[in-house]
């Protein structure tokens, strides 16, 4: 361990683990950062990067393993403890309050006072000082945050965390909302912070950025560390391979799909600011993957198709006839259904029973006039519970008392119960264990074999490889290419989502 000023080991995590019900999110990971170094952390969604960083931020009090900061062993059981030990976090979503001034945001919780009153001059002086550290010398700190640009807000956010004099700064996807010019400005700031001896941990899906800014890179997969490399000694291809790693062939049996006639077509669909001129078609029995990074407009696209959100231009054809759903009810009646991304927010009614959740989307189908008896759906519910192996098989148990994987199966059952013609799946296996994942995948495959057209939106690349017949690439709201069945490989998908590779046309 080198002990000179720069390059001193600021953070050393040894053998840390953290588990959630059913999954080991971080599994015996070693991770370290030196002062004045940018250490990138990469991996697919669910690889454990965010959990590892949350652990560092003091979000969990039940992790195992040891964490040393600046050579001293510390406990990070609350966010306050982490902060006190010099860990600064900058999240993807800004934590600034938009209506109040930049200065007040920067100095929140530690506004300088004179007697009972706030010392305005001192507030401005301190705010200016912090802003100058991120190159925003010219910005007036008395402006409200709502008056500045997204990029400036991002930099103000960094300035805010610098106010606590962090030794370690964690940046989680800091560029997701920035243009390429702004990214370069951010990188200049990061280099300055490096020069000031701060240890920076940089999380990103954009591999290009990782190569540009980081000194070392750690690759994670399935909660484990796959390796740590000097960034200049690893190639993009090697990195991609390590991120993707596992052999898919063992997990997914060879699929044989019987693709029928075209069932569903989207032509030139646009919703200003979200997605533009999106066209694709899906046939009966076909699984089409929509491949793109989070924020590429894929969820917005799905919501517009089923009538939850509006769209501005374009048309949707179901079995050759134009349809425009005013709400989800019409979509379901026509057989177009959408399994939402977040089961706890808009998927399940978590306090209702499994049976009530499974039936919730097709109460009208079981109703006799205005009357409806919950027990009438029991047979369907029981069949679905068996088909999807929901454990425990207790229809009358509240959804919140099931594990994450089984909750996801309940959500899947809810949509299977509606007998869809076109099924749009948004992250159907996010945050579930391998066992549940396999069962959900088999259900999707079975449905495709019965002639359902499936649109699969997922960040899980092996899932796309294992399930889909074709993939469209969505980037920044535009379709930039299509990958045929034989071209669907994880490396290719990862490149395509980043706007590169042979199938990208724009």
């Amino acid at each position: 361990m080198s002990e000179q000023g720069a390059g001193r080991e600021m953070l050393k995590m040894h053998n840390v683990s953290k588990c959630f019900p059913g999954t080991l999110a971080v599994d015996c990971v070693d991770f370290d950062v030196r002062a004045g170094e940018v250490h990138a952390l990469v991996g697919e969604n669910g690889a454990g990067k965010s959990t590892l960083m949350k652990l560092l931020a003091g979000s969990f009090n039940d992790y195992t393993g040891t964490v040393r900061i600046d050579g001293q062993e510390v406990k990070l059981h609350t966010p306050a403890q982490s902060k006190a030990h010099g860990v600064g976090m900058i999240y993807q979503e800004l934590s600034l309050a938009r209506p109040i001034t930049i200065a007040e945001n920067l100095l929140v919780g530690k506004l300088p006072v004179r007697g009972l009153f706030i010392n305005d001059r001192e507030v401005k002086r301190q705010a200016r000082e912090l802003l100058s550290r991120v190159g925003l010398d010219k910005l007036d700190p008395s402006l409200p945050v709502s008056a500045i640009s997204q990029c400036e807000a991002q930099l103000v956010e960094i300035a805010k965390s610098l106010g606590d004099n962090p030794k370690i700064l964690v940046m989680d996807e800091p560029t997701s909302a920035l243009s390429s010019e702004e990214v370069h400005r951010l990188f200049a700031i990061i280099r300055q912070l490096k020069a000031q001896g701060i240890a920076v941990i940089y999380i990103s899906h954009h591999l290009q950025e990782v190569f540009e800014i980081s000194d070392r890179v750690t690759i994670m997969r399935d909660g484990r560390r796959q390796g740590t490399y000097q960034t200049d000694r690893i190639t993009k291809a090697e990195m991609t391979h390590l991120m993707v790693g596992r052999s898919v062939d063992e997990f997914y049996a060879q699929r044989i799909s019987a693709i029928g006639d075209e069932l569903f077509r989207v032509e030139g669909l646009s919703r200003w600011g979200f997605f533009h001129d999106v066209s694709f078609s899906v046939s009966a029995g076909e699984t089409l993957a929509v491949c793109g990074l989070a924020g590429s407009g894929r969820t917005e696209l799905a919501r517009a198709i089923v009538g939850v959100d509006r769209y501005d231009e374009g048309r949707i054809l179901l079995q050759g006839e134009e349809v425009r759903f005013a709400n989800m009810f019409q979509a379901i009646q026509s057989g177009v259904v959408y399994l939402t991304e977040s089961r706890s927010v808009d998927g399940l009614a978590i306090r209702l029973t499994a049976a009530e959740n499974i039936m919730s989307a097709h109460i009208p189908d079981h109703a006799k006039g205005i009357f409806y008896k919950a027990a009438d759906g029991n047979r369907d519910v029981q069949e679905l519970i068996e088909a999807l192996n929901i454990y425990p098989a207790a229809a009358q148990r509240q959804a919140l008392n099931f594990s994450g994987g089984n909750q996801q199966k309940i959500l899947m059952a809810k949509w299977l119960a509606t007998n869809p013609k076109v099924l749009i799946l948004d992250e159907p296996t996010r945050g579930v264990d391998i066992g549940a994942k396999e069962i959900i995948h088999k259900a999707i495959d079975r449905l495709a074999k019965q002639g359902t057209a499936i649109i699969l939106i997922t960040s899980d690349l092996p899932e796309i490889v294992g399930l889909s017949d074709r993939a469209v690439i969505l980037r920044n709201g535009h379709v930039i290419g299509e990958i045929p069945r034989n071209g669907i490989l994880e490396t290719e998908l990862l490149m395509a989502a980043n706007g590169e590779g042979e199938y990208v046309h724009v």
Binding site: S17, C19, F20, P21, G22, T23, L24, D62, T64, V308, N327, M328, F329, Q330, A331, I332, Q333, Y338, T340, V345, D346, G347, L348, A349, I350, R351, L352, E356, M359, S360, A361, I363, P364, A367, I370, F371, Y372, K373, A374, N389, Y391, Q398, L400, N401, F402, S403, G405, N406, K414, D433, I434, G435, A436, E438
Partner: protein
């Protein structure tokens, strides 16, 4: 591949989903009827002869009836996770006054007009909350204030009397009789008001449990977004909820005006708060989607019995206010705790 593979990892036992505690389950299963039983025992202890007399039972049921009707309406609002309809007092007052104003058209038309106009007032709330997504508490509070202004302006802030509006009319007698007539059952007699309340409880229970609307309402109350994304017409459901609630308030208003033989803007005062207390006592929670009308009936009984016992032992009205207020706080506290134990993980 078995599901439980991952559970065998010893490091993973920390964050198991906790089963609901015994206490919370117990509170949920027996619910409010434990309190009803306790109050029965207390009542017999403090006034052994009086408490169980037919006279006293009839009085208690009578006083429970009005609040019970309001509570049925309020239950729908609470069940839909819209907290409470605070415009109940003015809808009660307004529909009573409309009925009295139109009493010259005959009793039945006046009754129908009063109830319909009350229900329409609820439809407006439903539209503003369901369609425009106003916050239910803020909106109904403001709405109540506006309605109170309108009613005072129309009637110049004074009471109205049916026998002044239509002297010597048979309709007025029928109107007075509405709250005074009763159905004899052996030695006992049950007032019409109580019958109407019981009918509302039964009907409300049927609507909640056995109709398409009730089952969709349960999903809406439990998770609004999930309901919307399940193809449920959430706007329609919420408008219907506020209309049903206002219908119940309006019927209450007509009975209230009949009891007091007059209409006044202050007729419904305090009913919002007491009805919400009864509903929460009955096992519904402000998070919505939980509880039923049987519980609400229990809650209304508890409120009535509590008042009755306090009257029997000579607690003054002012002191009763304090007791009811404290009871409300305790209920909210207990239900919040048991919600937290049952609800969000």
């Amino acid at each position: 591949m078995s599901e439980t593979n991952f559970d065998s990892n010893p490091a993973c036992t920390v964050h198991r989903v906790r089963e609901t505690s015994k206490f919370a389950q117990w509170i949920n299963r027996l619910g409010v009827y434990v309190v009803v039983a306790a109050l029965l025992i207390i009542g017999m202890a403090v006034a052994p002869t009086k408490f169980l007399s037919l006279e006293n039972i009839r009085n208690t049921l009578q006083s429970v009836s009005l609040m019970g009707m309001v509570a049925v309406g309020m239950s729908f609002v609470v069940y839909s996770a819209n907290f409470a309809d605070l415009s109940a007092p003015m809808i009660i007052a307004f529909s009573g006054m409309i009925t009295i104003s139109s009493i010259r058209m005959g009793f039945v038309p006046a009754f129908v007009i009063g109830v319909l106009s009350g229900t329409l007032l609820g439809a407006i709330s439903g539209f503003v909350i369901g369609k425009l997504r106003a916050h239910p508490v803020i909106w109904t509070m403001a709405y109540n204030f506006v309605l109170s202004g309108i009613v005072r302006w129309i009637y110049m802030g004074s009471q109205i009397y049916p026998d002044v509006i239509a002297p010597d009319s048979a309709a007025v007698d029928t109107f007075y009789n509405l709250s005074r007539a009763s159905i004899p059952i052996g030695d006992f007699s049950l007032s019409w008001m109580t019958v109407v309340m019981l009918a509302m409880i039964v009907l409300g229970q049927l609507i909640l449990k056995r109709t398409k609307f009730g089952n969709q309402l349960k999903v809406v109350g439990s998770n609004y977004e999930a309901a919307r994304l399940s193809g449920i017409n959430v706007t329609g459901v919420i408008i219907t909820v506020f209309m049903i609630a206002a219908f119940c308030f309006a019927v209450t208003g007509v009975f209230f005006a009949s009891i007091s033989k007059m209409g006044a803007y202050y007729n419904g005062e305090g009913y919002d708060f007491r009805a919400v207390t009864a509903v929460l006592l009955g096992g519904m929670t402000l998070m919505g989607g939980k509880g039923d009308m049987i519980g609400t009936f229990g809650g209304a009984l508890v409120m009535g019995m509590l008042t009755n016992i306090m009257n029997l032992i000579g607690v003054s009205t002012f002191e009763q206010y304090m007791v009811l207020g404290v009871a409300f706080l305790i209920i909210v506290w207990i239900t919040t705790i048991s919600d937290r134990k049952l609800g969000k993980s």
